[in-house]
């Protein structure tokens, strides 16, 4: 537990924190605004070593030279980065999951998955991130016996600096893109996973991200390393309460798979999407990338994106090792005034590398849904294979679906397949369901869930059920 006195002591220790933080510190908030002092403040709050602070400052200085990207098929007013607060923490750090804010538990209960029960039933290890800090990590001891490190990113910086130094920024460099660079400067917490050689992680690892505080951005940083022959399945879930202001979420996730290693990364993203008129909601600008470093390594991304006002996200795979495999399975739903520009990049570098992309876009209400994907085959990638299937379904006539596929092949032995379809939800299908007694709303959700089945099949079992329910909840009010 951080007391006001402790914070005052901290501020004393480092002169940089004197800029009117007193009252705000009492609340464990950083004041709105972004400057080098804020970056230093975050670093001190997290008790970081100097090398970490220097990295942050380098990223911040670089960010100042960059421009916000405008190429995505999304439309939003300019973000005032000085209005956001870059750090918020609950005053009292919960000792266990029992003390986690009831709001989190309530949200999950509404979706039919009480956090506690699942932890017991499915044996899922959970890292819960509340605004800027990790509040609890379960099953740590059990995992440690296998040499697995599963902790908050902040702890990893302190306890495993060599691993963090070696891998952080090795997949997404600090200068990568506007939002990733911002993240590199002000990231707060997230999860860190290291699976030692030959170890198959015996349980799902998962992180729940919760934005709670007002006018606060969440900048999480996640790093997962699977050493030679290691296997891990990781899942993240996200929620945020209803707020009238747009809140920024700019995360960076890096995955590294060594020789014969497998990483399966699943996301269920249900940030607050804003109201039906587009007021409020989360701006979800995320950089996720995995490197298949070793031969026969495999990285699989599965995402179910139902929340956020705006989603800007392209989980990608760099297929360096020979015979490495990259997969991307995505369901993106936009309802109300939501906008999504999402897809993937598959970069084939090694020989016999394979990638699969299955994207399902659902647009309802005034939602705009764009798939944007790049398949790139470099000269050395002999016999590279890609299969892309990109389907869109429209519900109503006010929404839109868009597809932007980019293909660059520099090796004549590559085989790249792309299939795409767009359809309106069938009147005949709806009538068939309603004639059997199923209400129109349930019929839409049944048909849409069927449409997404190929992707849901990739989710860990218990989360496939969650995804089904989430989709139904998100579609509420889309017909009628």
């Amino acid at each position: 537990m951080t007391t006001t006195q402790e914070i005052a002591n901290l501020a004393d220790a480092k002169r940089e924190y004197k800029y009117g933080f007193t009252t705000l510190i009492e609340q464990d908030y950083a004041p709105p605004g972004l400057n080098e002092d804020i970056v230093r403040f975050i670093s001190v709050k997290k008790g970081e070593p100097d090398w970490m602070l220097q990295q942050r400052l380098k990223a911040y200085r670089h960010w100042l030279t960059m421009e916000e990207p405008e190429w995505a098929f999304i439309d939003y007013p300019p973000i005032d980065f000085q209005k956001t607060s870059y750090y918020a923490a609950p005053k009292k750090r919960p000792e266990s999951l029992d003390e986690v804010d009831p709001e989190i538990l309530e949200t999950f209960e509404k979706l039919g998955i009480p956090l506690h029960e699942r932890e017991k039933l499915a044996g899922v290890a959970v890292d819960a991130v509340f605004d800027s800090v990790s509040v609890a990590t379960t099953f740590k001891g059990k995992l440690e016996e296998l040499g697995i490190i599963f902790c908050s990113f902040g702890e990893a910086v302190k306890n495993h600096p060599d691993l963090v130094k070696k891998y952080m920024g090795s997949v997404v460099p600090y200068s990568d893109n506007y939002f990733a660079t911002l993240n590199s400067a002000v990231f707060t917490d997230g999860s860190f996973v290291y699976i030692p050689p030959g170890v198959k992680c015996p349980m799902e690892l998962s992180t729940y991200f919760r934005i709670n505080a007002e006018n606060t951005g969440q900048f999480e940083r996640t790093l997962i390393i699977a050493d030679e022959g290691a296997h891990v399945s990781y899942l993240e879930g996200c929620t945020a309460p209803q707020r009238d202001e747009n809140q920024l979420h700019a995360a960076v996730v890096e995955l590294v798979a060594h020789k014969d290693a497998t990483i399966k990364y699943s996301t269920i993203q249900n940030w607050y999407p804003g109201d039906e008129n587009g007021k409020g909601g989360i701006y979800n600008f995320v950089t996720k990338r995995g490197a298949c470093r070793g031969d026969r390594s495999r990285i699989s991304w599965t995402q179910v994106e139902t929340g956020s006002a705006i989603t800007w996200k392209y989980p990608s795979c760099i297929l360096q090792g020979d015979d490495s495999v990259g997969e991307f399975y995505s369901v993106a739903l936009t309802n109300g005034r939501q906008q999504a520009d999402t897809g993937t990049k598959m970069v084939h570098i090694g020989k016999n590398t394979k990638s699969t992309i299955i994207s399902k876009g659902i647009s309802a209400g005034h939602g705009q849904n764009a798939y944007r994907g790049l398949v790139k085959v470099l000269p050395g990638a002999e016999n590279a294979r890609n299969y892309t299937q990109c389907d869109s379904i429209l519900i109503g006539d006010q929404c839109g679906a868009h597809t932007f596929p980019y293909i660059e092949s520099r090796n004549p032995t590559a085989s790249i397949e792309h299939e795409a379809s767009t359809s309106k939800i069938g009147e005949d299908q709806l009538f068939y369901c309603t004639q059997r007694g199923i209400s129109e709303e349930d019929a839409v959700s049944l048909i849409v869930n069927g449409f997404c089945k190929e992707v849901f099949n990739e989710l860990p079992m218990e989360f496939a059920v969650e995804a089904n329910k989430l989709l139904s909840v998100s579609l509420e009010g889309s017909v009628g």
Binding site: Q435, I438, D442
Partner: protein
């Protein structure tokens, strides 16, 4: 005196502004099997869709009373929950939704409508097993997506299977015989015949007399140009087969004048 199960009076309906049904009257009592025959374009399928509540069909005049309630006031799912079933002429595919999932949703929607508890997975399976025998349906088919990759015969058998599971009081069979070989026809007819009882009624819509050899109707009606122009017993079907629809067409003005 028996109250009719369904009473259709002076029904007028249009599609895209074009009037198809032009004053149709039909009363069906519980326990009866009626057949509607007629040439292509006479309005047979329109009648089926209007009764089931398809949105593109606009009722411009007339009334339909079903179980003493105003049928036209209900949306499609309410009609189904109240006991109306349509065996489709062209059942659609629903990719990714298994037959089991689909039917379970239908069963429980109907149960909820009647204030009953959900049927659990075990009892649903029991019901499926029992009804599958009726139409010689392989239960593995229910694990596949609804109608996806089904042959014509499989689709129709699946319709009758759904009917058997949902136990409607009034079933409309829209050209269920089209595209069926003689074995499939017999299986489908057997399914319907097993379900015949004093509480239920059927409306069998067909272009050909053949099906009526297997599902023997109590009444046969001839639909021409949106009206019933001729009604009779099962022998009327044979007469039609013999003389063709041109015969009733000639009779039509006289029938309408009556």
């Amino acid at each position: 005196m028996t109250t009719p199960l369904i009473e259709i009076k002076n029904l007028h309906a249009s599609v895209d502004g074009q009037e198809i049904l032009k004053g149709l009257d039909l009363t069906i009592n519980a326990g009866e099997v009626h057949s509607i025959m007629g040439p292509n374009g006479s309005g047979k399928s329109t009648l089926a869709n209007v009764l089931a509540g398809k949105e593109d069909y606009e009722v411009t005049d007339g009334s339909v009373v079903f179980h003493g309630k105003d049928l036209l006031d209900m949306d499609a799912s309410e009609r189904a929950c109240e006991g109306l079933f349509l065996a489709f002429q062209y059942p659609v595919e629903i990719p990714g939704v298994s037959g089991m999932q689909f039917l379970r949703a239908a069963i429980n929607a109907k149960r909820e409508h009647h204030g009953l508890e959900e049927l659990d997975a075990i009892n649903v399976m029991k019901l499926f097993r029992e009804k599958a025998k009726l139409v010689e349906l392989d239960l593995d088919m229910l694990k596949r997506s609804v109608n996806e990759g089904f042959s014509g015969g499989e689709k129709k058998r699946n319709e009758i299977f759904q009917m058997a599971v949902l136990e409607p009081t009034f079933s409309v069979l829209d050209e269920t015989d089209s595209g069926l070989d003689i074995d499939a026809l017999r299986i489908v007819a057997d399914g319907v015949n097993t379900m015949r009882d004093p509480e239920r009624a059927f409306l069998v819509i067909t272009h050909y007399q053949r099906l009526l050899n297997y599902i023997v109707p109590d009444f046969v009606h001839v639909l021409v140009d949106g009206r019933i122009v001729h009604s009779g017993g099962k022998e009327l079907a044979l007469e039609l087969e013999d003389k063709g629809y041109a015969w009733v067409d000639d009779e039509a003005p006289a029938a309408a004048a009556k």
